[in-house]
Amino acid sequence: MTTGSDNEQELSAQPSNAVQDPITPSQLVTALQREHPDWITEVREALGEVTAIVPREQIQAVCAYLKTAPESRFDFLADLCGVDRGVEEEPRFEVNYHLFSTTKYHRLRLKVLLNEESPRVSTVTDIWRTANWHERETFDLLGVVFEGHPDLRRILLPDDWQGHALRKDFPLRGYEPYSLK
């Protein structure tokens, strides 16, 4: 894929050829990895999905690039969710960004791995505003801190809740009835 205008000319000249040759997310990610080796540490493909593991320092740069680059156009952040891989796992937390393109209809998952000592990652709210509530939810339930988030408060649990309920070491029924506190 070349620049946008060339691409359009190609489309008008040979529509059948352009349709047959859409760039897949896996090609896209491997090309990106070749271009910026420090942006993506690993590319996994499973069950028809592509997962790119991104170092936490680079997540903003990668997201901003993928949102605007003409061949990716991931303009829609479908979902953002955190995962606790287990108390003894290292790195313990992961944050998944499920990207979607409203023009090309392809999907991609970015994954950031975070240590238990400092579960901190830059926010992507300035790239997709929809990340706001997703990040608040992840902070609320897993304790992942999104640096630079405009309004990082608890969203589902009460403000004075202790701990983070979706962590694996948080008991299912809580520590004591909340109403008795």
Partner: protein
Amino acid sequence: MIADFQLPIADWHWNGTGWEFPKKVPYRPIGNRQLEIGNNKMSASTVNIPPQFEVVDRPLDTQMTISMGPQHPSTHGVLRLELVLDGETVVKAKPDIGYLHTGMEKLFEYKKYQQGIVITDRMDYLNPLGNNLAYVMAVEKLLSLEIPERAQTIRVLTCELQRIASHLVWLGTHALDIGAMSVFFYCFREREKILNLIEAASGGRLTPSYFRIGGLMMDLPPGFERRTKQFLDGFLQSVDEFHTLLTGNRIFQKRTQGVGIISAEDAIDWGLSGPSLRGSGVALDIRRANPYTGYENYDFEVPTEQDCDVWARYLVRMREMKESHRIVTQALARLKPGPVKADAPKVVLPDREAMKRHMDALIHHFLIVAEGFDVPAGEFYMPIEASKGELGVYVKSDGGPKPARVHFRGPSFVNLSALPAMSEGAMIADIVAIIGSLDIVLGEIDR
């Protein structure tokens, strides 16, 4: 007697010769505040209230904060909005959610895969079959199961019926919020027919749990097709009836046109999906973009409207009901006899009759119920087009009979997060119309 009172320092100003307290005394105590002096209660208007007792709404004297909900009927559940008002204009809207939070995502991690299906019913309780479908398909993908043709067709059929039912609740409550009472009764009359159909198939009206991992709970009952046809025959006429009730209504038009505007770029940026996004002119439908359960074989349109307001979202949903009607008709024509469960004895519960005859069926049944089945390690994100937008289920397995993590990307949750962007600058009465047009369900938002 100014010296007797401690006045707020900020209110003093320099008038050129000396410090002076403003002549315009702050007014408007909150409500009908009564001063208690001794045992005599006197009305605020008769007593000269010392200024420090008067409540001034900063910063403009005219702004006030009110809390709308969580018991407000037009918030469709337990949503609370913190509204900063200037007169009747909304300066700032802040949704406050979590009143219905029950930790469902945590609960998934303690239940076997097949037990999770009943939890999904309780999220978006107006579209439970859609939730079942998304969850079940995510797990099936991890298990690499092939679903028989008939099961897929029945899934499409019942899901589209459920979409109509969900839209009918939206239509009834949305009109009710705006002040049109009778639409509600017409909508619920039609919805009742769909719920009866779903009850006939699954045994449940609100919580069907009809889809199971590997297929369906059981085949459709005899007579289901006839009853569905009966419903379909009358439904288009009912939609026209709704149109006669609302679409030409001048009050309804005035309440919805030009209200709650969100442009296509903003809508995508805020992650709006489903009819709320299509009302902004973006023809995005997951059934088309990433087809699942054989939706690529059905002929239907993706209705869009360009106006970006409440009215546009209303029209999109009205047209969607007719499209769903088309899909159900096609699915009915496509129904052919065949199995409704995948050929995976370790995952799918055997038939009752087989258990009486075959030892291995009995063993499999016992093992599935008692220990569950192992799902290969991996993760999958399954997006579907639910009645409210993109419903995504992220399932992560570490190889055991219980999921390591299940996350629901509820369309209501994301659509509600865009509410401040739509409602700031609107009138307070419009907030009701905007919430109605987003079609939120708090069970899914709070999970």
